[in-house]
């Protein structure tokens, strides 16, 4: 242990007590606050401070909103102040804090003077720490949810495409055969109607399968999937998507392809929903080991700052999340009546173009 001269020690301790960032309360055996440092004062309202100075017992309870146990987030069960023979090296406690509301603190309480039962309660602001952890947790959860969603969509889409649609197709062939087995015009007409209905149903199912997750994306890659998707936008909404691409049949990692496809899908859908336009431009370009996606419309635009979302407000968030997953950078430029320009730049591995897609 480093020796400090006996004369200096009280001085250093006093300075530590006064200037420490930790909020320090010194309590006597009945829970009266007999001293507190400057940091501790700052978190109290004037009224609480006055009452504590006045020496009310258990004064800390005015600010305290309970501490965390394994059973409850905030509880007063076996209170750390009332239970005077209890030393807790580290626990989480919630305190009413000036200007911040009820926020969590990391706390420790220990007896420093056994004879007089003097105890020290030290608090450290945990809110930043907890926020960081929550964000991290949320991100991990989001990623898992997105992956699970994508997998499930793929499964159902495959099932529809490979089994339901195939069965219906053979049914359609059967019906066509029946058509040539009779000359009764009434029967032929009825069969023709059924054939038409069945064809529409088959188209609906194929459409559903593609909407869930396009098999083209797994089998043929981004460019084909985009072309098919934009065609369906044309016939569903009458909106023309001008598509330019230089990637040809190049393939990328499954995760990149999925993210780029979904981000583009979301961005174009946003344009359809909110921009009030008849055409959208999409560019997909590979340059300098980067894959760049541009989605441009000259619609009504929106305010990026303090925009009150017209939809769920999750779309843009989801796009950013997906971009981060593939180490991409998503930038959104928009202003009222100036249109919207969304750009995604994502790194691709050297020679990534030759990577076989192991998606299927």
């Amino acid at each position: 242990m480093i020796q400090i001269s006996q004369e200096k020690l009280p001085f250093i301790l006093k300075n530590f007590f006064e200037n420490a960032n930790e909020k320090i309360f010194i309590l006597n055996k009945i829970g009266k606050v007999i001293a507190m440092n400057r940091a501790a004062k700052h978190i109290l309202t004037d009224e609480m401070f006055a009452q504590m100075v006045a020496g009310k017992s258990n004064a800390i309870c005015m600010a305290c909103r309970g501490y965390t146990t394994i059973d409850e987030l905030r509880t007063c069960t076996s209170c750390y102040v009332a239970n005077s023979n209890k030393d807790l090296a580290s626990f989480q406690v919630y305190l009413e804090t000036v200007g911040k509301g009820v926020i969590p603190y990391s706390a420790s309480i220990q007896t420093v003077d056994e004879e007089n039962e003097i105890r020290v309660l030290m608090l450290r602001d945990l809110s930043e720490h907890i926020k960081t952890q929550e964000t991290l947790h949320q991100k991990l959860l989001m990623n898992r949810v997105m992956k699970a969603q994508e997998d499930e969509r793929k499964r159902i889409s495959r099932e529809l495409h490979d089994s339901v649609a195939q069965e219906m197709l053979s049914l359609l062939v059967d019906i066509r055969v029946v058509k040539y087995m009779t000359k009764n015009e009434e029967v032929v007409n009825k069969i023709r109607e059924t054939e038409g209905t069945l064809m529409r149903l088959l188209e609906d199912i194929q459409h559903l399968s593609v909407e869930l997750r396009p098999a083209t994306l797994d089998d043929l890659g981004l460019e084909s999937a985009f072309r098919a998707h934009f065609k369906s936008i044309d016939i569903n909404y009458g909106i023309v998507v001008h598509f330019q691409s230089n990637i040809d049949t190049n393939r990328y990692e499954g995760e990149i392809e999925t993210a780029v496809y979904r981000i583009c899908q979301e961005a174009v859908l946003n344009a359809i929903k909110y921009a009030n336009v008849d055409e959208v431009t999409v560019k997909l370009l590979e340059e300098n080991n980067q894959l760049c996606l541009h989605i441009i419309d000259d619609g009504c635009g929106f305010e990026l700052e303090n925009a009150s979302p017209q939809g769920t407000g999750l779309g843009l968030y989801g796009m950013k999340e997906r971009a981060e997953l593939i180490n991409g950078v998503l930038s959104i430029h928009s202003a009222i009546d100036k249109g919207t320009y969304i750009r995604l730049v994502t790194p691709i591995e050297e020679g990534g173009a030759s990577i076989e897609n192991h998606h299927c």
């Binding site: 529409r200 569903n236 009458g238 008849d278 939809g311």
Partner: protein, 150 residues
């Protein structure tokens, strides 16, 4: 039936009922794909409605096709949530606020739909719905067979 005839007929309905927009969509049998598409319209802001291939169940026209009954939305903002607007392509494309769709039958089968609407709210009143229905029956009831064969 000549193309001009259909165009004239829907324009007549539009004038009589004072609609801002009208279109007629029916089964395009020529290519054997069984698509239901709009070919004639009037009062349109853009040509988007001509590119749309109708899907049963989707949008006002789709609902009329699916159920075989007329579908009306008197006030678009009150009856459709903003986030679901994109499920109603024609409302979006033409900025309609009050809209109706009447299915067209050939024998017992729905083969098309007439969609009309206003760019202002609450115009599709009950009386107008009756009038619209009546006009559509008058102009088109006898002619579907011919149209489908085309």
């Amino acid at each position: 039936m000549k193309d001009r005839d259909i165009q004239e007929r829907i324009e007549k309905i539009k004038d009589k009922c004072h609609f801002d927009f009208i279109k007629i969509a029916f089964l395009q049998n020529a290519s054997n794909t069984y698509e239901i598409k709009s070919v004639y319209g009037s009062g349109n802001n853009s040509k988007r409605y001509l590119r749309i291939i109708l899907k049963t169940g989707k949008g006002v026209a789709g609902q009329a096709l699916k159920t075989g009954r007329p579908v009306f939305i008197v006030n678009v903002d009150e009856e459709i949530k903003r986030k679901n607007f994109h499920h109603y392509p024609i409302i979006m494309a033409e900025g309609l606020k009050s809209i109706g769709a009447i299915p067209l039958y050939e024998e017992s089968r729905v083969i098309g739909v007439v969609v009309a609407g206003f760019r202002s709210y609450n115009k599709m009143t009950d009386e107008l719905i009756d009038q619209f229905n009546h006009r559509v029956t008058k102009e088109f009831s006898s002619l579907f067979k011919e149209m489908v064969k085309k």
